[in-house]
């Protein structure tokens, strides 16, 4: 019973999490996870911060254009992995304010290959 309830809530309240390359044709609200591709331009408090986002393990071909208004975490910069909630509008992914999250700072140690 609880499981059914939870399943319902999760589907009703959850957002799909996608890679930039999976975004094509998706217009509902999603969370994208990717790597920031520079240059980063614009103003997050005015017209919006503009950058591109590519698959974490992909190349620039997978990148989409992103615009984001709202507070920007200290760790945000080109090359950093981020997640951002928002919607695809035309060819640009428009981020929802306050949803830009950089990878948790406690995991700064290099990824093991």
């Amino acid at each position: 019973m609880l499981a059914v309830f939870l399943l319902y809530t999760s589907i009703a309240g959850g957002t799909p999490q996608l890679r930039p390359s999976q975004l094509e044709g998706r217009t509902a609200e999603v969370t994208i996870v990717g790597k920031v591709l520079g240059p980063v331009s614009g103003d997050a408090r005015r017209a919006g911060l503009r950058f591109r986002l590519q698959d974490v393990e992909g190349d620039a071909k997978s990148a989409i254009r992103v615009v984001y208004k709202g507070s920007v975490p200290d760790m945000f910069r080109a090359g950093r992995d981020i997640s951002l909630k928002g919607r695809l509008q035309g060819a640009v992914f428009v981020g929802a304010p306050g949803t830009l999250v950089t990878k948790c700072p406690s995991k700064y140690s290099a990824k093991k290959s």
Partner: protein, 667 residues
């Protein structure tokens, strides 16, 4: 140096393997000398872990960058204290800390319980050794902190946002909590293995669980305080998987600390308590996995780090093995006592347990939902704040109410008439509070209003308990009120310590409700001379100021503050700039907070962005009552310490009941 560390880890691994395998055989075959040898091997493993840890501390303190781990987590300009704290800043060091704490706890538990009957001790040792063996094996084979390299000129350094006093202690407290859960688990499993199904393990490890629960609780509060001061988003808890990792075992431990009272008093809930202690342990392992492996956040971006798979295997194996053991012992574990009435103290404990466990499982579901949805639907789906906040209200508000009802209701069966008599005062107080709050405009948030009303009810109930108890004691002894109150608390430490903890939870609830449901937020870009108003406050941006500190530069926006037209000092939010490389310096946002302790309110200012034209983007939060959360933290510690404090009378009573384990109780 590194060789010494590696050798120490190998010794620990060997000693633990011996303690686990030979200890298990000894317990099974009942060979006393082997049991003692296994115990000594466990103690030796603690010694070896201490040596390995000392090597790492020395390497960190001397910035020996030939250690890969040191180069990865510290740097020359890092202050010494932070350099040493890198011990638990990275994966390998954290695993070593687990091993050190667990072998240390095991040694202490064995020493404190040295008069424990040998057939019980015989099983406690191999269970603890097996858990520690897992961590030792990870350290030796997969994640050694003693890997060497050609030393680089400088290390990569510690993330600026972690260079904060709260971060020195927060991870250690969480680990103390996580690891502490292993001891009650080991005693419970040992009891089952030895076919002892009475309460001895509950009694022997109650204080272990209480201490672990206290560490986890305080650790989370410090983490929340760190997030509040350092992340700069005005919040203190974001339902991040890493945060949930500590909350889940804490919730289960909370349920356990209540339900064991039912077992001790009525002999009920034996199976349930064993299941809770298993769940708490598995969640503490899961919590370590979540914080260390990146299993959840980066689920489709990375291959799981190598230790992740091992953790999952360990979790699965220990869960299956413990559940199989419980199943095998069910015939002797089941009790005949049944709940006599749904309106009784034990029934409220049962409801409280169901709510706490349901809440924990809901959070667990939210945490692993991306994994499940990816497996089932082919696409990870994440749930965020709305999901968790919904269930926080759905389970948290009834829990709050139960906290008021439970203490007032009698064991076994309560009559309606006695209920009416007991509840009239707290109920009246809550009703009056609700009416006053609605009149004051607090009705803007129904959840906030309910939380406040319930809080008033709980506080009323707690006060009533103290007043009634003190009066009864004063009448009996003829002493003053203060002396009677003190003796009341000292004679019933668990009970009144528990009430003090309850009042801490009320403070927390009021603080959370106040700061989230009734906060004010304003955003603006200001040039020098511009002003911004938020609630009772007016801020004027005076100028920018730069200052040089040891390893960074401080850029600050100087703001003068007025409250209700009265000057109220200056605030200096800004950014610290760490010049780790010329091209890309690291920033850390430094919020400025003005606390009004009398009102419990914070004026919380973030300089989101300092622009080239000299303007600054500010976000200003006015957070009513937020400081009750931190004050609640101190009350929480006080209450826990009262409940933890050794009680000679209790020990004598329990020694009579569990004849063979008089010392066990001091554990």
């Amino acid at each position: 140096m590194a060789e010494l560390g590696r050798a120490a880890l190998l010794v620990a691994l060997g000693a633990l393997a011996f303690s686990s395998l030979v200890g298990g055989f000894a317990a099974w075959s009942g060979r006393r000398r082997l049991v003692l040898a296994a115990r000594n091997a466990l103690v030796a493993a603690f010694g070896a872990s201490l040596v390995a840890s000392a090597v790492l501390v020395v390497a960190l303190a001397s910035r020996d960058f030939s250690f890969e781990y040191v180069a990865k987590t510290s740097s020359r300009d890092l202050p010494l204290l932070y350099a040493v704290s890198s011990f638990w800043g990275g994966q390998e060091g954290s695993l070593l800390l687990w091993l050190l704490l667990l072998t240390g706890f095991s040694t202490t538990a064995v020493a404190l319980n040295r008069r424990l009957r040998i057939e019980l001790l015989a099983w406690v040792v191999p269970v603890l050794a097996t858990i520690a063996l897992f961590f030792a094996a990870l350290l030796v084979f997969l994640e050694s902190p003693f890997q060497l390299q050609a030393a680089p000129a400088d290390g990569a350094g510690l993330n600026p946002s972690l260079q904060n006093p709260y971060m020195l202690i927060h991870p250690v407290l969480l680990y103390l909590g996580f690891v502490g859960m292993s001891v009650p688990f080991a005693f419970a499993v040992a009891g089952l293995l030895a076919r002892r199904t009475d309460e001895w393990w509950v009694v022997a490890t109650r204080r272990w669980m209480l201490a672990a629960w206290l560490f986890l609780g305080v650790g989370q509060l410090l983490g929340a305080r760190w997030a509040y001061l350092e992340i700069g988003w005005g919040g203190y808890y974001g339902w991040d998987p890493v945060e949930n990792a500590a909350l889940m075992p804490w919730l289960i431990a909370t349920a356990y600390l209540h339900s064991i009272m039912v077992q001790e008093k009525k002999g009920m809930l034996r199976v349930w308590n064993v299941l809770l202690v298993i769940l708490a342990f598995e969640l503490s392992i899961f919590g370590t996995l979540l914080t260390r492996s990146g299993l959840i956040e980066s689920v489709h971006a990375f291959a799981m780090s190598p230790i992740g798979a091992w953790f999952v295997a360990f979790l699965t194996l220990t869960t299956i093995a413990s559940l199989a053991l419980v199943f095998a012992r069910l015939p002797i574990l089941r009790t005949q006592t049944k709940l006599e009435s749904p309106v009784s103290r034990e029934a409220t404990f049962l409801y409280n347990n169901l709510l706490l466990v349901a809440f924990c499982l809901t959070i667990l579901w939210g945490v692993i939902y991306p994994l499940i949805s990816e497996a089932v639907l082919g696409e990870p789906i994440t749930v965020s704040q709305p999901y968790y906040n919904f269930f926080l209200r759905a389970f948290g508000l009834p829990l709050l109410l139960l906290m008021g009802i439970g203490p007032l209701i009698a064991w076994r069966r309560a009559s309606l008439r006695s209920l009416g008599r007991t509840f009239i005062w707290p109920f009246g107080g809550a009703l009056a509070t609700g009416v006053i709050l609605v009149a004051a405009g607090a009705g803007s948030s129904p959840a906030g209003l309910i939380a406040y009303t319930f809080s008033a009810f709980v506080m009323g109930a707690i006060l009533l308990e103290f007043v009634r108890g003190t009066r009864a004691r004063a009448a009996l002894s003829g002493r003053s009120t203060a002396a009677s109150l003190l003796s009341l608390i000292s004679l019933n430490r668990r009970r009144y310590g528990g009430y003090v903890v309850h009042s801490a939870v009320v403070l927390l609830a009021v603080g959370v409700a106040g700061s989230s449901a009734y906060q004010t937020v304003r955003e603006a870009r200001l040039l020098p001379g511009d002003t911004l108003a938020a609630a009772d406050y007016r801020l004027r941006f005076e100028r920018l100021a730069d200052r040089q500190a040891a390893n960074h530069k401080r850029r600050r926006a100087i703001l003068s503050v007025e409250r209700q037209g009265q000057a109220a000092g200056t605030l200096e939010p800004g950014k610290n700039v760490y010049p780790v490389s010329e091209r890309q310096p690291l920033f850390s946002t430094e919020v400025a907070v003005r606390t009004n302790w009398l009102r419990g309110e914070d004026l919380y200012v973030v300089a989101d962005q300092i622009n080239p034209d000299g303007s600054v983007d500010l976000t200003v939060y006015v957070k009513p009552l937020v400081n009750l959360i931190w004050i609640g933290g101190f009350v929480f510690i006080l209450g826990s310490l009262i409940a933890l404090w050794p009680d000679a009378r209790e020990q004598r009573r329990l020694a009579l009941r569990y004849g063979e384990a008089p010392v066990a109780i001091t554990a």
